[in-house]
Symmetry: none
Subunit: 207 residues, 4 copies
DNA sequence: AATGAATGAGAATTCATTCAT
DNA sequence: CATGAATGAATTCTCATTCAT
């Protein structure tokens, strides 16, 4: 993923300031959208000088890139990425882990990811899509393993896609379900996926 | 939903021009986002004079409002709203109908609905949410009827929510599944929901 | 030469506003230089709205392009360019005409031309140089005709170059000669060139 | 000429750093102009810390002042200035010396002098003009001596002016004559001035 | 009802300069 | 004496909207 330019030499400071800024920006972007949020407002909220901003980022768009990188990194907490497999017992555990992960913590950041796709330049957008795509493949593979199937069928791939979708959009649509407990939604979703996967597994077995 | 102001007296002309403009805008909004699209560009594409625009709409935001109204109206083709119930045999038919509807036709408009939520002012946004919410309730009720259940359980409501989600987001995320046929995805999704609903139905029966 | 973009449809108005703006800019550029002059200042002086400026020009640099075009057009009053040869009896007449032309009228504009070469983007700069170069060739040819020589020697070309130089820079360096009458300087310069050309002519004759 | 302030006590270091910086700046100014060149770029090229710059110069403009001083000093290699007369046999020698001097060595610096006049504040600009003016007078006096004339006529002064002009601008306009050898141009220019001066001399003799 | 020009607030970004260590 | 981060004013340009005809 594209590297963000900086004029600052101390890498710890760069990290600190970038987070400081991007966290402030995240809240504002979520609320008003990327374009409707001005650099002035962001810097005021982040308590960073407007001029200094450009010492840490190359442009406004770079904030999005930074946020996306962060999201991707955290998502990889339950994905292998650099080889480190996440720790889970079985498929149900995987499902529960991934969901509670996506739904609780990065709420805002993930929502943003899907809100502001159009605000990214084409190249960066493509990269984001690619990472997602790889991730879906990995999930499908986990499903295959967990169900002891010989290969990844189209339907398994679709199920993997669906999981990633649900993880992405449940937080986005929290609005409609505010009267239902988070816990209950989680249970329902896990149950739903288990039902689907079992059904798939049986169908495959018959063939 | 808030009425859009106009200075023009001929209502047919108003309708015609508004559609002309909002269709041009829709394509542009989807591609570049609401804020990144200028009024100039919209009017050029719509072949409407930039000055005339403000005879038919009160502001740029009004285009969104107009589009949302339209979307809602079409959604109600398979929902009752003004009393006209859509025509379907059973739940499977309902699922298939709703999905092929959402996935094929309003692709762009629905995607926009979820992209540009933040570009609406709070009041309008709330109205959109409310309509959605009512719609979910209606779907849940249809599920209850189709499954011959005595009441709408939380899980049924969640399932209804999930359907609306999936309908909204499948088109948004078409990107990851471009190698799979639309038909196959539809079959999978319908099958998935049937599995879930049947499982729910059985569980309820046991109680 | 590159066309300047405009959003205005009435071409007379475009011409009028562009001149209005570029004349104000010319004075300021000459005084403080291109970069040190802000768009705000230019528009204030030109009594044009800062926003409107961009209806008539595409960018700040376009003002320079416009000015250069104007200069070139006037220079061609005594050059053929599009076929119309300027009217003069003999070489001495040509010299006097060209000089009084360059020294009196376009004073400011010509000075600017040589001051702000670096402020033009490469492509435009190249075009300006090319026009100059062609012009020098035309002058050399006139010299050849006037002296009834068979061909343009290197020295004749150098003399032509020198004339164009002198015409360009006498106004630029008026400062050092402010105590001498314009008339006297003109006489001296014409005499100087006549002396040079005659000497050249004789030398060629001997060969 | 105005003294440039410094906070540094070691004068050798000051001299060294100032040259280091101004040489880097010279190249950049010539290429992009004074205002379009940023302090950051200059200091990067000069390999001097951006903060340190202000220990050796008071401001960006001071670089220009420093460069102008240097130019003036070198020009005085063939002028008396601090009393040291340059060494030449006759007028032709003087002409050739001055030209090859101006055309070869300080190419960049002299061009800059005339490019960036407007970037100097008024006071400094006036000083530069004054030095030039004195220099022209000195050249005129040398002409008078060489031609054994009783006094400096207006025409002689104009000829001196012309020499200084030509020396200043030949390098600036090298562009149009790139196909002709430097040597040939030099010969032509020397010949040209000799012709003019001889003609002047004869005319004066007749009076 | 349509046209096209005008308006002015606000956007992102750059830059010379200063300051603390 | 050097370093590198901070400052904030200024700059070019865009845009939704209004106005006069």
């Amino acid at each position: 993923m594209r590297k963000i330019k900086t004029k600052i030499k101390n890498p710890d400071l760069v990290e600190k300031r970038r987070n400081q800024i991007s966290q402030a920006a995240l809240a504002l972007f979520r609320e008003k959208g990327f374009h409707a949020t001005s650099m002035r407002t962001i810097c005021q909220k982040a308590k960073v000088n407007l001029g200094s901003f450009y010492d840490y980022f190359g442009s406004k768009e770079d904030i999005l890139v930074h946020l996306y990188k962060e999201i991707m990194n955290r998502k990889l907490h339950w994905a292998p990425a650099d080889g480190k497999p996440a720790d889970f017992k079985d498929i149900e555990d995987l499902l529960r882990l991934s969901m509670s992960n996506a739904w609780s913590r990065d709420n805002n950041a993930i929502q943003l990811l899907y809100q502001e796709t159009t605000s990214l330049d084409k190249k960066t957008r493509k990269e984001v899509f690619q990472i997602e795509s790889n991730f879906v493949k990995w999930v499908a593979e986990k499903f295959r393993e967990g169900l002891s199937l010989p290969s990844v069928s189209t339907e398994l791939e679709l199920a993997a896609n669906m999981l990633v979708y649900v993880n992405a959009f449940i937080p986005l649509r929290g609005w409609n379900m505010s009267h239902i407990k988070q816990e209950e939604i989680l249970d329902f979703a896990v149950g739903m996926f288990m039902t689907i996967l079992k059904a798939l597994s049986q169908r495959e077995a018959i063939r």
